[in-house]
Structures are given as structure tokens and as C-alpha cells.
């Protein structure tokens, strides 16, 4: 059963790996993905808005699809909201399986579906303090999501 957390605080990838694998001898492969804020030109931070209540529920639905599709021993997703500066973490996905191909595929799938289904909206905040434009969705994210159908 997947564990999903939507939080303002940063996460600790090491603690998540430890929690998912401690004492387990049935896990052959652990894949983690950490998504970070890049410091593109003039960006002071990303302000990430979310839909409380739906964000965690929707991520759980996506995770349940991953668990139905691949045999996973662990599935963990953390998504942050609020102001996130360059070099800081935004999202974390961990998948564990007996075999590496399942762990890789599930992590890749989770990230594709988080991008297009989880109710978060990023807005650029400029270094001059002004609220900038909302980040536009990437059409390549939709293309990536369709790989799995």
C-alpha cells in the first residue's frame, strides 16, 4: 500500500530509503526520483499552489494504479507545496521491487502521472519580488503520459 504525503516541509531521501527497506530481504531494486527547482534566469522561487484533500487522494489513486501494474514492495510519494527556491526539492518518488525493471518502470510512470493528474500549479516568482507567470503545462508531459496506455 503506497504512502503519500503532501507537505510544505522538505523531505529526507535517505530516511525514506531506510524506512522502505529496513529489515527487508525481498527487495532487489530501489529507485528514487527527486525533482528539484532549477534556478532559471531571474527565478527567485516557485510558488506551488495545491488543492488540499484532492492532491493526496489523486496521488494515492495514481500510486494504486502503479501497484496494480507492477509488483512493488514499497511505493512512496512526497509532494511539497508553498515557496520552493532554486536547488530545493519539490517531489520525491521511491519504488522498491524484486527486480529493477519493475522499480524503474513504476517510478517513471508515477512521475508522468503526477505531472498531468496531481492538482498542483507552479508560478514563477521573480528576483525583483514580483509574482510572475503561471508555469505552462508541457505538451511533452501529455505525450509521456500516453506512453503507458
Amino acid at each position: 500500500m503506497a504512502q503519500v504525503t503532501v507537505q510544505a516541509e522538505d523531505f529526507d531521501a535517505a530516511a525514506e530509503i531506510e524506512a522502505a527497506t529496513r529489515g527487508r530481504t525481498d527487495i532487489g531494486a530501489v529507485v528514487t526520483f527527486s525533482g528539484r527547482c532549477r534556478g532559471d534566469d531571474g527565478l527567485a522561487a516557485l510558488d506551488i499552489e495545491h488543492y488540499p484533500g484532492m492532491a493526496d487522494a489523486e496521488i494515492l489513486r495514481v500510486a494504486a494504479k502503479a501497484e496494480a501494474r507492477w509488483p512493488l514492495q514499497a511505493c512512496r510519494v512526497i509532494h511539497r507545496y508553498g515557496a520552493i527556491g532554486p536547488g530545493q526539492n519539490i517531489v520525491f518518488v521511491l519504488t522498491a521491487s524484486a527486480h529493477r525493471s519493475d522499480a524503474f518502470a513504476a517510478a517513471d510512470f508515477l512521475m508522468d502521472f503526477l505531472k498531468t493528474r496531481a492538482p498542483f500549479w507552479k508560478r514563477n516568482r521573480h528576483v525583483d519580488g514580483s509574482a510572475g507567470e503561471w508555469v505552462a503545462p508541457k505538451s511533452k508531459d501529455d505525450v509521456a503520459t500516453r506512453r503507458w496506455t
Binding site: 484532492m54 509532494h79 505531472k115 493528474r117 500549479w121 507552479k122 503545462p137
Partner: protein
């Protein structure tokens, strides 16, 4: 029915949340969008491109043809940019 608006849909409408009482003949998400778009320039602006705005009914992604019967909460928002 409670309505929630996010991101630039919220900004265009000018509120994050409101109580809606649509007429009885508004039975679907698409119907509700049509009704809302007629309520004023701010709503018309928010829904000017109906292909783009997404909806969720009771925190589950919905489509224009999704029925509103029994819905307690409906949310409108742009395409998501999380992850």
C-alpha cells in the same frame, strides 16, 4: 454546492471559494460551466477556453459530461503543473 477555483481560474474569477445554487436544468459539469460563464465578465474570462479548464467533482477528476447529482464540491482549475 461548494465551488473552488485554483491558479489563474481563481485569479480571473476573483475568489477562491463560493457557494453555488445553479438552476435545476444544470445537470453536468459542462452545463455548470456554461451557466457560470454567463454570470459576468470575470467568469466569462475564466472559462473563455473551455477546452483548457479542468474540473473535479468531490476531489475526483471530472469531464464535461460528468453528472452533478449528489456533488458537494466542484473545483475548476487549469492544467496541472506539479511533479
Amino acid at each position: 454546492m461548494k465551488a473552488l477555483y485554483f491558479s489563474w481560474v481563481r485569479e480571473r474569477i476573483g475568489t477562491a471559494e463560493e457557494e453555488l445554487a445553479p438552476p435545476d436544468d444544470v445537470r453536468t459539469v459542462g452545463g455548470l460551466i456554461g451557466w457560470l460563464a454567463g454570470r459576468g465578465e470575470n467568469y466569462a474570462h475564466a472559462f473563455e477556453n473551455r477546452e483548457i479548464v479542468r474540473a473535479a467533482v468531490d476531489k475526483v477528476h471530472a469531464r464535461p459530461e460528468t453528472e452533478l447529482q449528489g456533488a458537494r464540491e466542484i473545483a475548476f482549475f487549469p492544467p496541472m503543473t506539479g511533479g
